[in-house]
């Protein structure tokens, strides 16, 4: 196995809490504050892992299993996503479906853990979250389908429905004449990114009002190491999904692994800054508007895919 394949998961596991720190810092700068240190999440994790735990007497083993299975599926997702022209260690034909469904497992078990507490707040968050994820999944898969088709000529003998394959095919080629497809898919994936990670305008991660929470409220009753696992899992989700967007948007390969890695990490940090900026300048959408936004993202992915079919003429022959 190529030694470079260890780079994507290693970076994900080690550096992902830094992304959250960058988002906090950006928001703080916008608000005119100094903000917490960039490594704040690492300190939080250290504090949480040192604690004991209190469990609700209404809950069952599912509540205890929620954070564990959620983190496990995200760790596996980190092993599927390529980064910076390094292939993912675990890639196979169709792994983009596997990736999407790993995220779905994480959601499913967190929703069940939330319902396990028997509290109205968690039920509320759970019911909103399942609808939003049901609507955001088509956007993600259709967008990835458009990118997959773009990365393969329509008549190639060797199909590559794998995130790694797509990434390497795009990295080898230029955007060329099909830049519109990439822009549309990037926008759609970015909206899904915001939805999956509970960012404004879908959900406000800093709200203190339970009635307006979606993701925050699902981890309301978790504490101690469980909360640490949840916090780490959400950081990992940010990195993993951001890496997919960076793979699609930035097909730069300089030939030197180290330069590529630095470039991609910088791009990911820039993505985090953009998220921070959005969180600072926008308010959260009304709950009724969020499904419409997600359907809009799905439509963009669909349009990208349709452009693929009809727009073969626009693609430069080098693809």
């Amino acid at each position: 196995m190529d030694l470079a394949t260890i780079v994507p998961p290693l970076l994900a596991l080690v550096l992902s809490p830094l992304l959250v720190g960058i988002i906090f810092r950006t928001k703080a700068i916008f608000a005119g504050r100094n903000g917490p240190p960039l490594a704040q999440i690492y300190y939080d994790l250290r504090k949480l892992m040192a604690k004991g735990a209190v469990y609700s007497d209404v809950t069952t083993w599912i509540f205890r299993a929620g954070p564990i299975v959620s983190l496990a599926s995200l760790i596996l997702a980190a092993f599927v996503v390529p980064f910076a022209t390094c292939a993912a260690p675990f890639h196979f034909q169709g792994d983009l479906v596997w990736f999407a469904y790993l995220l779905a497992v994480s959601r499913f078990i967190s929703v069940l853990a939330a319902l396990d507490t028997g509290s109205a707040f968690e039920g509320m968050g759970a019911s909103r979250d399942v609808l939003f994820s049901a609507l955001s999944e088509p956007a993600m898969l259709l967008g990835l389908a458009a990118v997959a088709r773009q990365a393969n000529g329509a008549t190639e003998a060797e199909l590559n429905l794998s995130l790694t394959g797509i990434h390497q095919a795009i990295a080898a080629a230029e955007w060329g004449g099909s830049w519109l497809v990439f822009v549309l898919v990037a926008v759609a994936l970015f909206v899904v990114f915001l939805a999956e990670n509970a960012r404004i305008p879908i959900d406000d991660p800093d709200t203190h009002l339970e009635l307006t929470m979606i993701h925050e409220v699902m981890s309301l009753d978790h504490g101690g190491p469980d909360l640490g696992l949840i916090v780490y899992a959400s950081a990992l989700r940010l990195w993993v999904f951001g890496a997919v967007i960076v793979d699609v948007v930035l097909p730069i390969s300089t030939g030197y692994v180290l330069l590529d890695v630095l470039w991609s990490v910088a791009a990911l940090f820039l993505l985090a800054v953009i998220v921070g900026v959005i969180e600072s300048v926008m308010a959260r959408l009304r709950m009724l508007r969020v499904p419409q936004l997600l359907v809009g993202a799905t439509t963009l992915s669909g349009v990208a895919l349709v452009l693929e079919y009809g727009g073969r003429l626009w693609i430069s022959p080098s693809n």
């Binding site: 604690k51 004991g52 735990a53 209190v54 469990y55 609700s56 007497d57 209404v58 809950t59 069952t60 599912i62 564990i68 983190l71 496990a72 760790i75 596996l76 675990f90 196979f92 034909q93 169709g94 792994d95 479906v97 469904y101 779905a104 497992v105 499913f108 929703v111 319902l115 396990d116 507490t117 028997g118 509290s119 109205a120 707040f121 968690e122 039920g123 509320m124 759970a126 019911s127 399942v130 609808l131 049901a134 999944e137 088509p138 898969l141 259709l142 389908a145 997959a148 088709r149 329509a154 429905l161 339970e210 309301l220 009753d221 190491p225 696992l229 499904p291 895919l305 349709v306 079919y309």
Partner: protein, 669 residues
Amino acid sequence: MIELLLTGLGILAASGVLALLLGRWSRLANVVGATGAVAGSLLGFLPAWLTLIGGRPESASWPWDVPYGSFSIELDPLSSLFVLIVFGLTGLVAIHAAGYLDLYHKERSLGVPWFFFNLMACGMTLVAVARNGVLFLVAWEVMSVASYFLVTFYDERPGVLEAGRTYLIATHLGTAFLFVMFILMGRHAGSAASLDFAAIAGTIPESSANLLFVLAVVGFGTKAGFMPFHVWLPEAYPAAPSFVAAIMSGAMSKLGIYGLLRVLTLLPVLHEWWAWLLIAMGVVSGVYGILTGLAQSDLKRLLAYSSVENLGLISMGLGLGLLGVSTGTPGLTLLGFLGGLLHLVNHALFKSLLFLGSGVIVRATGTRDLNQLGGLARRMPRFAIAMLIGCIAITGLPPLNGFVSEFLIYLAAFTGQMRLGTGASAGMLLVIGAVTISGGLGAVAFTSLFGIAFLGQPRNERAANPAPVGWLLIAPITILAGACVAVALFVLPLVWMLLPIVSEVAHWELGGILQVSGQATQPLSAVTLGSIALIVVSLGLALLRLALLAGRRVTQAGTWGCGYLGPTSRMQYTASSYVQPAVDFFAPVLLTRTRLDAPLGLFPRRAMMVSHTDDFAKEAIYRPLFVSVEWVFVRLRWLQHGRVHIYILYLGVTIIALLTWYLSTLPPG
């Protein structure tokens, strides 16, 4: 080998009759019926299994006095898959039914349901192995009528007889189409004057293939439950006892798919628009089925609509395979058919698991209403684990078997959109979108089912103290849960077993399939590895947390809920409130009716809200249709005046008319 199968059928029939004759000794009838069902299933399971893992197809034939008929049966890979499903589920459901029915041994005669249950199993098996049109139709009728009597087991309860009537009418309407189809098939059989499949396979003209396919889709689609022929499912399954719903949903509806596949092997050509028809019906059933399903608060209605959704997925897979055949795309053919067939097997497993589980829930708590349940996982922990496996499997999530078959359908759709021309690729877009959204909405429905019924606090006295349920009812559920896990881990051997069936249905020799089989087996082996990795990593993290918490304070307290100190069970989300965002969003296409008596004034007194979701096909298509048919027939009421001598006049006029017509068709001279 085939003698074993016939012996198994004989034992099933004999034990059914014996149970019926033992009428007054209900407990004994219960035991006899159940033992016969299990023994017959075991005997019949073996030859089907051996044929599927690589045995030679065997056939047997006896002459029969019925015109065009002969008692000819054959056990080839396609038939043995369905025989396997029928017998496997019959045996397991019979064990559950023995425990379930025992409660009624004082007030009901238990010989009657066992007679019909075993008869239905015989009918289903004969449908799967029949090689003659008349035998097929007879077995189909036996299966349908026997299941009608099982559906109306609780005939004293309101609504059950009407549900049974809906079912009977629907299945006979479908069977009528099958009659016409077989008659048309046999018209060109020539001098053989028989509806043997071997005889008619070569003689069907290409011009009638389209009509035959449409008739098959309507006839078999009614039994399978495609939209818009599915309207009997949400009526019959809740009315029927849970074990009946389990066997019907797990085995009988699959025989609708079997019929369709068998007709495909008989037809001389495969047109491309057939594939698009199957895909379109699959898309509509898949999305609309689960959408209506998640809006239900009746547990068994939810499961019934979920059956419609999964039949839609199966249809999409088979349609994709058919598309591959007609466009000459081998990868698409393999992946589509494999995905459809594997999802069929998986659905048989997890849907019967869930229906048997609903039987346990009804027995323990006395209600099917999700809004009345809660907290069952604390009170029935092992049962809850089996149901969780079922819910995860049916949502199509890794690491279980539902994901594997949906993965294959995704791969097929992605392959299709890469390989096919522009128009077809747009259709693939629809398929990918439909599978994704049905998976997402399935997650809504089944987190609702499991979360509301099993988690949180009980919303009702009976749910807080569930009655103890015998191990006979729970053992088959555990076995089915184990089977779901086994299929997920051992999917590759199962795929090898399904390849001969793909070869048969796609008219494609096995050697060609094996050349492209890597397109399916390589991703599947990676998925299996990933599923195992998911389980291992989860266990590892669990051990990590255990190590972290060792020696630290771990206490229990009430649910914190952000400092709210007095949570009651009524404050929790109910099933209706849980799905309300989804139902609201899809309101334009869902027929959800709400009746609201809002509280008025400063000190609210009376308030009420009732909401229920009706079936779109039933309200928008069938009800107007049947009402207009009734209008026409009311206009003809004057013919039924009751005067006997005018009736005799009707007879005379008809005879004279028929004689005149017959004489005019005779050759002159």
